[in-house]
Subunit: 504 residues, 2 copies
């Protein structure tokens, strides 16, 4: 965020801009639409771009009712003016709030007024549901209207054959463009990039560039920087728009361009690209092929989606669920969770086997069966805490070979200290509960051992998984709790067995 | 991402830009620096903006060594040219990779060449450590150079008295500006906003606006849109820079401006503001006070930080850790985790109490003690799966009053189906293990009951916590596992007790 330019606060008295008529009658591109809406009924009022949501962030009931009624009555006029006026993301939320029948009817009634980009804002299940209900010709026509990255986002989920049929019906340049993006593997910058951008030669002047943008009708929908390329279309630099606006017309682009910092290659993993955006606070960045030729541009709004997806992935993996969506069918969800539960069952049986080793000890003193889950549970939670911090630190690259040693010692210390603290607490509790000081001593000792084991497992297992190239988020949880269960039961029951036999 | 403009692919043959000298000798603002670096030694080469990182994302050892040596030899020349050339985020990573002594020495040696903005890129502990080692006068001087949002970010963590002393040493307008931001509560848009922006009256023409930006020396460091205000400084609209560049000089700003969509108020929670950015794909947005007067601008790079923080918060809370950082002292971490573990201890003891109810049953058949953890553990995991999905859906607002019912029925179904599947598996395993079919039937029945309970607890508890205004992420985990432990032990041991007594 820092920079070498002076800056100013527009509110300094001296700089107050001269007065004026304020908001003009024209009122910008949305003026007409606003006007149209002002004339609507109160129910329709709910369709205002920003007031279709209630305070809890869900779509207002009265608006849903109005839309539902309009769909039932085939009130195309209302739908066109109200639903057609929504921002794509709002249209997406609306599609998710109504039922399947209403969805398909709504899309049908809106016809060309249905902004296909809304499909990029809904769950995959709903996206496919809508797409499957449309003829491929219609889809192709709609995709032609979209930015290439949105088109690709919708295309990539469709059946292979539908993809080909749709691509075949697109104009040449559009088809080539989408093909190029689709050829890059999923989750790469090439898949996410937009193939529309403005590129100029380095010797152009600021004036030429501005005139070009004024006269050129076919510019990208919106852009924050333009790119500078040589005759072979190799990327030689980029210029942010504000730089162009603050520079005199006669200055040459090459004099104000920034050299391409940390170029993003089309094959680069989208997560890596996102990290570059975050590190250098980029609004957009050029995507180049193996020959350093400019092939597209990655924009921050796509990167924000990536960041959210990655965070979502970590959260779900830590929780033992795959990338399921709320709209998935029950059977899909059952299957996706089954594997994880099966692995957990195996580890749970392993833990039980450890207990089985000491069944004689338990039958000698049932209190052990009552207390043993406490040791295991405390270890499991302490281990989860350490593991969560470690997995997160690995994801944000806050942990590396330079501080790993320090972090491990730190976690061990934390585990030991908390272990001692809770050993004292549970020791006293157990001693009083079963009026048996010896038992208190045994569980206290077991607690210290297991809490230390938990800390070590919580930090070492994710580091190990990361080192061997596995995703620490997905497998750590099960391994860590296995360690804490086994160590917990073994330490507690083992010490108890030794203690009881020593009494005898 | 969708829009109403036509777009073009610069790579269409007809549009290939004319050839040119490519990268000019001037080479933009970084040219000089590049040149300087090209002259350096190979070790120094490592200081290249993009190659100080090794493949695993950590800073290259040879660069760290070179810097360490330079600090030791007080080689100011090397440090100025190499470390001074780094991007603030790279400087931040470097500061985190070296030790305390080196850090303070590095900052001292760099003097005015130390970009204070780097402090916004490091952990709070390190930020304070560096700040505390500097005289407030020096800090004030450095803050004056920063964008207001970076300055506030650094100031807010300092001691009250230091804050006041530093503010007192800042020039008037700068002081007022930072005070205004600091007056807004933490985690609000007002705290995050940048108070430098460009605002023009609606009646200005595009030409006037461009000329103004060309002549005005004191513009914000970088910006993606300008704002339109009336004489009372009320926000009447905004214009993206690309819109200005593609519009003829004589057009009036009010004709091309967008009306302020979903205005962000200074008191708005930063998370809410972030959601608006995500929904409408904004690059920057005006922040207004209660009187709709423009007070600042929120930029996407700050919003990205917010998004990451919020995701991080959810992950850590689900893992039972507060917002601790790797650089926290051991005692701080111990304290922050103690509470959570203490709550878990209480619930674990509760579960044990349930077991204690059946000690007679257990002493009658020790196999029960061996098997009971399996039922509890499976329930705990199934519950965690459902809870994770629910908490995430609440965070992303994918779940609301309209689909809550459907989601609950869905989770119940998933729980029941998986419950039956695992009941069969564990039933057979137990029957064979202890060659006791009856025992297999008992654990199977208990498994179905607990898996269903887990599903319901996993979805209902977060929804309930959210409804009463508590953070579902922070408390759900402990409640859910308590339910699954208690129900698991009670169902299994209870059924077993009834079964054994019925045999007698």
């Amino acid at each position: 965020m820092s920079d070498n330019f002076e800056r100013r606060d527009e509110r300094e008295p001296g700089h107050e801009p001269p007065g004026g008529p304020g908001r003009g009658p024209a009122g910008g591109p949305d003026g007409g639409r606003e006007g149209a809406r002002d004339a609507e009924t109160s129910a329709a009022e709910a369709a205002g771009r920003n007031d279709i949501y209630s305070d809890d962030g869900s779509i207002r009931q009265d608006f849903l009712t109005a839309v539902g009624a309009a769909i039932a009555d085939r009130d195309v006029l209302f739908l066109r003016s109200e639903v057609g006026a929504l921002h794509v993301s709002e249209l997406g939320d609306l599609l998710e709030a109504i039922n399947t029948a209403q969805r398909q009817e709504l899309v049908r009634l809106l016809g060309d007024d249905f902004d296909f980009a809304a499909l990029t804002e809904v769950d995959e299940a709903i996206r496919l549901e809508i797409a499957d209900a449309m003829p491929n010709a219609k889809i192709a026509e709609a995709l032609g209207e979209l930015e290439s990255d949105d088109a690709v986002y919708i295309l990539e989920d469709l059946e292979e054959e539908d993809q080909l049929e749709i691509l075949a019906q697109l104009p040449f340049t559009e088809r080539i463009r989408l093909r190029r993006a689709l050829d890059y593997p999923e989750d790469t910058a090439g898949r996410r990039m937009q193939t529309e951008f403005v590129a100029v030669p380095p010797f152009w002047t600021v004036g030429q560039t501005i005139d070009y943008m004024r006269d050129e009708e076919e510019l990208p929908g919106s852009f924050a920087q333009i790119f500078v390329v040589d005759p072979t279309f190799k990327l030689v630099g980029s210029v942010n728009l504000d730089r162009i606006l603050r520079t005199k017309r006669m200055v040459r682009i090459e004099e104000i361009m920034d050299d391409p910092r940390s170029p993003i290659t089309a094959e680069m993993d989208q997560e890596e690209a996102a990290q570059i955006f975050e590190q250098y606070d980029l609004l957009s960045a050029a995507v180049v092929d193996d020959n350093k030729r400019l092939v597209g541009v990655l924009t921050i709004d796509d990167v924000v989606d990536v960041i959210n997806e990655e965070a979502e992935e970590d959260i779900k993996r830590l929780g033992g669920v795959g990338d399921e969506e709320l709209s998935d069918r029950v059977i899909t969800t059952v299957r996706s969770r089954f594997t994880w539960l099966l692995i957990n069952l195996a580890t749970a049986i392993l833990a039980s086997a450890v207990i089985a080793l000491f069944d004689a000890t338990i039958s000698e003193m049932v209190a052990l069966a009552v207390l043993m889950p406490i040791v295991a549970s405390m270890g499991g939670n302490a281990g989860t805490q350490t593991m969560t911090v470690t997995v997160r630190a690995l994801a944000t690259r806050d942990i590396d070979i330079y501080n790993a040693g320090r972090v491990i010692r730190r976690e061990a210390a934390v585990g030991l200290i908390n272990g001692v603290l809770f050993a004292v607490i549970i020791g006293v509790v157990a001693a009083l509960w079963f009026s048996n000081p010896g038992l208190g001593g045994i569980i206290a000792a077991a607690m210290v051992i297991n809490m230390l084991a938990a800390a070590l497992a919580g930090i070492l297992l994710p580091l190990l998984l990361d080192k061997i190239g596995a995703d620490p988020a997905i497998a750590s949880a099960v391994f860590v709790t296995t360690v804490t269960d086994v160590v917990g039961f073994f330490a507690f029951l083992g010490l108890a067995g030794w203690w009881l036999s020593s009494l005898a």
